[in-house]
């Protein structure tokens, strides 16, 4: 019985989220989402999917929550790609890979990192950051700035 209920709950969660792995909760200034070659203006409530790239202008910031309760925010003049996001709400196992190409990023890790410490990675032009359950900030300053 317990297994049946767990299966039903998982199916329910999967159906609700479908391809959506996260959601825009805050946005200010110029922000858009690149998805499959399209540039979509970001709006509060907009679902975020794997392979989306968040792009902000000089006055832009955006905050996103993810299905495992991870939180991200991106500062002005930034490009952040969501390379991979997979999360099993039953086991809390998953994989979250993001790449900060430029600008600034704030991260609060979620349930999957609590479950397995190697679940989340952030790539930058020079480094790979392995997240062991924490809050952290990353900044890439353009040469000459």
């Amino acid at each position: 019985m317990r297994w049946t209920m767990t299966a039903i709950l998982c199916a329910f969660a999967a159906a609700v989220w479908a391809d959506d792995v996260g959601q825009v909760k805050l946005t200010k200034g110029a922000v858009h989402v690149e998805r499959g070659g399209q540039r979509l203006p970001a709006a509060v409530g907009m679902p975020i999917q794997q392979s989306d790239t968040l792009v902000t202008g000089a006055d832009g910031t955006v905050g996103v929550t993810f299905a495992d309760n991870s939180l991200l925010s991106v500062g002005p003049n930034s490009v952040l790609a969501i390379d991979k996001f997979a999360f099993d709400p039953g086991t809390h196992e998953g994989q979250f890979d993001a790449s900060l190409k430029r600008g600034t990023l704030a991260v609060v890790s979620g349930k999957m990192v609590k479950q397995s410490p190697d679940a989340m990675r952030v790539k930058t032009p020079a480094s790979i950051l392995g997240v062991r359950g924490t809050e952290f900030l990353v900044k890439i300053a353009e040469p000459g700035t």
Binding site: R2, T27, T65, L72, S127, I128, T134, K139, A141
Partner: protein
């Protein structure tokens, strides 16, 4: 110094000048709201640094040099203020307790409800999951129904303050997930509850 040595030095200088400047990178670890600091492992060309102290940082300079650093709270706000201000509210969980065999809140939880609703109001597009539970008194079937009723009751409070119902998922777990493990037919107030998770 021989002409040859000067030549080598000049060649080395030319070499380092020719290397394209790379973007300066900064990673800073923050203490969590509970005061505990996690860790970030910074890996770069075989080198590995673990940042696990509050405000510990790793900086890669434009010449490729990498060094450890410690930020002040003020420096963090200067460099990352705009980014931090866009961070969504932290996901939270609440518990509300119910009277025996009913979908009415206890007096204490009735007053807690205001706090819960106040938190919900601060979130622009909340994702809410409401899960009802019962104690082990009564049949499993009756408790399944009661737990759903309790969850729906709480959903009613939330929609009552204007939260759209499509942002709220409800489920009833009956007596399957006792918060306080007991035998069957045990009247345990802490098991008569609804769990509210909001993100």
């Amino acid at each position: 110094m021989t002409a040859r040595a000067v030549g080598v030095i000049l060649a080395l200088m030319a070499c380092s000048c020719a290397a394209p400047p790379i973007a300066e990178e900064t990673v800073v670890v923050l203490p969590g709201p509970d005061g505990k600091t996690g860790a970030v492992v910074v890996q770069r060309e075989g080198a590995r640094q673990v940042l696990d102290q509050p405000y510990a940082a790793n900086v890669v300079r434009a010449d490729g040099r990498s060094e450890g650093a410690r930020f002040s709270e003020q420096q963090v706000n200067q460099s990352f203020g705009a980014t931090l201000s866009a961070l969504p509210a932290r996901p939270t969980a609440f518990l509300l307790y119910f009277l025996t065999a009913r979908d009415e809140l206890t007096a204490e939880s009735t007053s807690d409800l205001d706090k819960v609703l106040a938190d919900m109001k601060t979130r622009p597009v909340p994702d809410i999951v409401v899960i009802g539970h019962t104690d082990s008194v009564g049949t499993a079937d009756a408790n399944d129904k009661l737990s759903v009723q309790r969850a729906e009751r709480v959903k009613g409070f939330l929609t009552g303050i204007g939260i759209p119902s499509d942002r709220i998922r409800t489920a009833g777990r009956g007596e399957r997930e006792l918060l306080v493990p007991t035998g069957d037919n045990v009247d345990e107030p802490r098991n008569r509850r609804v769990e509210i998770n909001v993100r």
